[in-house]
């Protein structure tokens, strides 16, 4: 894991010096994850490809401004989140959840353990969650981002992320229970 982070940071540093091969490697490395994340936010596949392209062009344009190469994943997801939200806002599909009540955050490990055994089911159930819940859960499952990192990506407070993650895990847990009973 640490090695991954380090090699990523080296790639970012090379990109900052305009190394084309490093940029190619960075795209190859992050594209599948970014694609999966964006697919959970945007329905149309062509739109996803457009957002991906815009994201990478923005990365290329602004990578020199990134002070800490270790923060590249958060920065990358933040850019793609903003691009996706802009598109969804244009289509009036983006609804920011603000009326959620703050819940005590608890690590619902049972849900996570159950989810790990049933990837296919989790993938299906993710599609049935609300967009905001789906987003935090995708970020949590794919990258294992911390609350603060997710808050930076989505542009909301840490409390809101905690609350969303709690609800998302709770709903996933219920859905998994239901599916297992059937």
């Amino acid at each position: 894991m640490e090695q991954d982070k380090l090699s990523n940071a080296i790639l970012v540093l090379s990109c900052q010096k305009r190394d084309e091969l490093a940029f190619r490697e960075l795209v190859n490395r992050w594209e599948p994850r970014l694609y999966y994340y964006l697919r959970r936010l945007v329905e149309n596949e062509n739109d996803v490809w457009d957002i991906l392209q815009e994201t990478w062009l923005a990365v290329f344009q602004n990578i020199r401004k990134l002070q800490d190469p270790l923060k590249f994943p958060t920065w990358l997801y933040r850019i793609s989140h903003n691009k996706a939200v802009n598109l969804l806002r244009k289509e009036n599909k983006y609804v920011q959840i603000t009326d959620e009540q703050m819940a005590d955050y608890c690590q619902n490990n049972n849900t996570v353990l159950a989810a790990k055994e049933q990837t296919e089911l989790v993938h299906e159930l993710l599609g049935k969650l609300k967009l905001a819940h789906r987003e935090v859960l995708t970020l949590y499952f794919i990258e294992g981002f911390s609350i603060n990192e997710m808050a930076q990506i989505i542009g909301v407070s840490g409390g809101t992320v905690k609350s969303r993650l709690y609800y998302a895990k709770h709903k996933l847990h219920e859905a998994l229970k239901g599916a297992n009973h059937v």
Partner: protein, 203 residues
Amino acid sequence: MSEANSKKEFAENLLAQDPPSADKQQRYKEALLKKIEHRMCLQKAVIVAIYIVIFLAAFGAFMLREYTDNVVHSICWGAVSLHILLWFLIYFLRGIYMLTAGISEKNSGKDEKQRWKKQDRFITIVAILVFAYASTILYCSFFLNDPLKAAHLAASIFWATVFFLFWYPFGTASLLAKLWLEYKKMELNIPKSEEQNLKRQDK
């Protein structure tokens, strides 16, 4: 370790549920890399164009010195060509200084980084002000009638330029020396720790 591995495995399995189609991925990647290549070429072209324009401007000023009949103008055009070339050299030296500082900065603490940033900002602002002031003086000297006075004025502006011509190379040299010392320190520390490890193993 196993938890991290299982998390990674789970993420990979989840990604495998909705992989991008190979055909589209290939097409999109080619288009993206072409765009990036174009942008890179454009950036390089812009930089080369700026360099050429600066050199042409300096050379043009130098040629004007040859063709003018007015002695004051001849002196001033000569000073203009030198003024452009020297400030371009300062800009280039600043680039090298910043590059070295960027490498050395990574090992320093937050306070030191901020102090360095403040100092750099101050020097840059002073350099811009000096450049503007020198350019104004040079412009004014064109309207003088006495060639001796014009020569004195044109020569005086280079004192400030010389300061920056010294500042940046010396700054780069001191940063390089600092980096070299740190490297040497590291080199001296490595055998020590290795020695300690060997002693521990012997015990």
